[in-house]
Symmetry: C2
Subunit: 199 residues, 2 copies
């Protein structure tokens, strides 16, 4: 005996999600059956809405309901700075800080020879075009992650931008707030010592 | 800046699933946006279908599209045996064996004083009623899990059934196929020695 068709189909759908295997998919499917019907309907509608109503901003690559996105459309923001990040989630993280009032550019990935990701696979061309077309941009802040791929991507982009005479900066590296020196890795400590500041 | 509403709603829906926290829900929501539209629509429909088209069999408690379920409706099956299991998934596991041709009864849980689950919270009343109304049933095979709660539930049910003069049996306990004696726990070894069989 197989599972009844409706549940088998639902298991198949859950299986398509990342990090969800056969057992978890089955558990989630059975859980769905015991959920409130209104919650299931909301979930069902949210799936289609997220797919249909959202797209990527044609200027910065951020996720948005309207093109251009609210950040690009907001003319009160500082048009001279652009922070380059790997993912949409990074935009949200930086916005939570409530200190930065400039613009963003989302790469949707990093250069990664291991995964076969080259410059044409991430949003670099659109960044360069944006810098060419928009003379207001004076500084590009490279905020890719502090990983080997993130560093390499930042270096690559900074070399491409240099001829255009736009300032490129990189986020500071050092100890995270609340972290223990005892447990910090060597590269973090090296950066923290190298970039020490007078108090 | 918050996430656009469609994605925030989808994150909320994913958060309602068991074992999925804020980070995973966000990852799944972003993954959904990058999925093929047809897959998202299929997923969305499967959710509602699983909720609307499935119910529990009024006889055995198994999950089904039609009531009674295919197993209860199949008169070629052995009507004299009923295997009592904790969950629907256990029915599927036993059916995969392709050896058993009797009926089932799904408890939908076990007695668990810690979780406040008493006899009225699981399908015991319907089992007793079924045994009273159906004189064809000669044997009840208690196939609750080999956990303290499963054992207690089996003991509890066997005591309730005893007066009705129906044979109650319990699945054999011993070494699992492919398992190492070295790594077997003491209770498993104790059961394996106690229930040893002549060859």
């Amino acid at each position: 005996m197989q599972y009844p068709e409706p549940i088998a189909k639902l298991i198949d759908s859950y299986l398509k999600l990342p990090g969800i295997g056969e057992k978890t998919a089955t558990r989630l499917a059975f859980f769905t059956i015991d959920m409130e019907e209104s919650d299931v309907v909301t979930f069902s509608k949210a799936l289609v809405a997220a797919k249909k109503d959202l797209s990527y901003c044609s200027i910065c690559g951020n996720i948005t309901e309207n093109d251009p996105c609210v950040i690009c459309a907001d003319k009160t923001r500082d048009q001279s700075q652009v922070i380059v990040v790997e993912q949409v989630k990074d935009v949200m993280a930086l916005e939570k800080m409530q200190e930065y009032r400039g613009l963003y550019h989302v790469l949707h990935g990093v250069l990664s020879p291991i995964e076969g990701k080259g410059p044409e696979d991430i949003n670099i061309t659109s960044l360069l075009r944006r810098l060419q077309q928009n003379s207001q941009i004076k500084e590009v802040i490279l905020a890719t992650n502090a990983t080997p791929e993130g560093e390499a991507t930042a270096m690559y982009i900074s070399k491409l931008i240099k001829p255009a005479n736009i300032m490129t900066t990189r986020l500071a590296h050092g100890l995270a707030v609340g972290s223990d020196i005892e447990y910090a890795d060597e590269m973090t400590l090296y950066n923290a010592v190298k970039n020490r500041q007078e108090i």
